[in-house]
Amino acid sequence: MPNLPLAKAINAGLRTAMERDPKVLLMGEDIGRLGGVFRVTEGLQKDFGEARVLDTPLAEAGIVGTAIGLALRGYRPVCEIQFNGFVYPAFNQIVTQLAKLRARSQGRLELPVVLRIPFGGGIGSVEHHSESPEALFAHVSGLRVVTPATSADAYWMIQQAIASPDPVVFFEPERRYWDKGQVETDATLADVAPLHRARVVRRGEHVTVAAYGPTVRLALEAAEAAAEDGTQLEVVDLRTISPLDVGTVAESVRRTGRLVVVHEAPTFGGVGGELAARITERCFYSLEAPVLRVGGFHLPYPAARVEEHYLPGVDRVLDAVDRSLAA
């Protein structure tokens, strides 16, 4: 069982998918000889050739638009968007074509396209490199949106995303690319957790904390700190944003009576609000406190020197936990 950084786990997952299915292609900027700016595709062009690992022109609409055409011809393109804030030139193709062609054609066209997007902050970078735009994609019917928080999930979820007959937006937590974790590579796709299931990653009886992507580790750190004060947090890794596995969170909330949702994206109009509404609908009589959200502010992502104030940290999570318990 190898111990891999999250970026290398995705690399291994891509390699396995490409070995299994010759129709799997990788497309993106600098993903070939360079191996991608985060080195996620390192070595793949050398081993699979330029016809399957394409260094593309620097045009995101072109990457996604031609991926659609390749998918129509029977291929399974995996597109790397270099950074989160660079996805917008492709937004038209994603929203008006990729997401809708299946419905437009009454199910006659299949678009097994994966968009890999590094997201989230905390790496001290410049504008457009640290954003969390997942809610924009979750709002679009026809897309699936997932994000791994660990190396093991990264390895399996990328393969599940590639195997999906629907387009999948696969958000990769930038600041966790170097986090190492054990990856059970001997299992099969059928053995591991389904792509669209959340997972309770720490048991606790007092407050449920739901997180995904980069904030899962944060929630676990908050749980460690809270435990020192005698507060037991139950941490749920959502893993999937569209669809949202509300049932797993609801089951937890029925036991704890409290929910705090943590993400880096602005809370306004975000995934936390959606989860809060659905948990309130399902668990109204189990809730001991209002569902609280901890996340980014309704602002353009700030310059790196203040991002630690913009991003939720352990203290802001614990503050929300305290407010929930005080209610």
Partner: protein, 384 residues
């Protein structure tokens, strides 16, 4: 300049129907092939006429007419082989005809019973795309797939495959149109980008879109651009055929500008008298694609009364097929809208489907009765 013929335009038939030579392009067609083209032109115009009437009668919500563009569409459409792929805009009814699509499938879109009633895989005609130019990058990607399948340059006419992507003059302004040309060039994709310059993008003349002739915009990315008389079916066939052959043989992409005119409104909701003169339309009426081809066929002695009478009867049958068929298009059941957003179940969609089904079923017990799954129009009027 609206009305005047631009320089360097490939033409094989003058507006008077006189057959002329071109140094680079020619077609040699058997009489039955020529008559086949004439039949196509007449029938697709009849589809358009009938659809306009059906819109006026309230059977269609909207119609985007092709009047005046029949030659560009039939000429390019008949240049395609069965294995080729076509990516249309929303006005390519003549191309759809050439791909064997029942025009009723198009009327479904404008009646609102579906977003397109044909199988895009079987007909190799992509669904109509309403976001202008958005179909072009997928067309280029499809051509890149053709390359990877080894279906280019084999010399086997049944295997070598090309892709054609359509756009209008207005769509050339979209960034994606330029991007598609550039990607096609970089990957040497077997694709033809076919632009029908019908002079008007709703109310905006082509001068708002470009300061150079549209076909020259391909120069900048190293794609050959060809200007063809879009009202000359023979020239459109010859130029498109050559471009597709070039693509299929591995020669790379071509940009074709078919110089034509939208004789009618942009759609039935448009009023072209607000932005263009009757005199301009008259100039183009004299260049009508069907009139000129008929004159040519007559001068060759190919149009006899039997053929003309049979064609008139066929057009009448087609019109009746549309009139009767459009009224019989099944109303979509309300729950059917949940069917194809995803290939595999999506938790939230499935929840909403179940809740909405239960909501609809809650009316079943009401005294007014009925089946909400079949008759959406009556649901709204019902009370609990």
């Amino acid at each position: 300049m609206p009305g005047g013929d631009p320089e360097g335009m490939v033409q094989l038939l003058t507006p008077a129907g006189e057959r002329v030579e071109h140094p680079d392009y020619d077609v040699a067609l058997e009489p039955e092939e020529l008559l086949g083209l004439y039949r196509d032109l007449v029938l697709v115009r009849r589809v358009d006429t009938e659809a306009n009437a059906l819109q006026r009668q309230g059977e269609l919500g909207l119609w985007a007419g092709l009047l005046g563009q029949e030659a560009a569409q039939v000429g390019s459409g008949r240049a395609l082989r069965p294995q080729d792929h076509a990516f249309p805009t929303y006005r390519e009814h003549g191309v759809a005809w050439c791909r064997g699509v029942d025009p009723l499938g198009i009327l479904e879109i404008f009646r609102g019973t579906s977003h397109g009633g044909w199988d895009p895989v079987a007909h190799r005609l992509h669904p109509y795309t309403l976001v202008i130019a958005a179909q072009l990058l997928p067309a280029v990607g499809c051509a890149m797939g053709v390359q990877r399948d080894g279906a280019v340059g084999t010399g086997d006419p049944g295997r070598d495959t090309a892709v054609i992507g359509y756009l209008g003059d207005g769509a050339t302004s979209q960034g994606e149109a330029s991007e598609a040309l550039q990607w096609a060039a970089v990957f040497n994709a077997p694709v033809v980008i076919f632009c029908q310059n019908n002079q008007w993008a709703i109310s905006e003349p082509v001068s708002v879109q470009a300061r150079v002739p549209l076909h020259r915009r391909a120069d900048g990315v190293g794609v050959p651009g060809v200007l063809v008389d879009g009202n000359d079916v023979l020239a459109c066939l010859a130029v498109t055929r050559a471009a597709l052959d070039r693509a299929r043989s591995g020669g790379g992409p071509t940009f074709v500008e078919a110089y034509t005119y939208r004789m009618g409104a942009h759609t039935t909701s448009d009023d072209p008298t607000r932005y263009r003169s009757a005199a301009e339309v008259d100039v183009w009426r004299a260049k009508d694609p069907i009139d000129r081809f008929r004159r040519y066929l007559e001068s060759e002695g190919l149009l006899d009364e039997d053929f003309t009478t049979a064609l008139e009867a066929e057009a009448e049958q087609l019109a009746e097929h549309l009139r009767a068929g459009v009224r019989e298009l099944p109303e979509p059941a309300p729950l059917a809208m949940f069917d194809h957003a995803y290939a595999e179940p999506h938790e939230q969609v499935e929840e909403e489907r179940e809740e909405f089904a239960a909501y609809l079923a809650s009316f079943d017990a009401a005294p007014s009765g009925g089946d909400p799954h079949q008759q959406p129009a009556t649901v709204a009027g019902r009370t609990r």
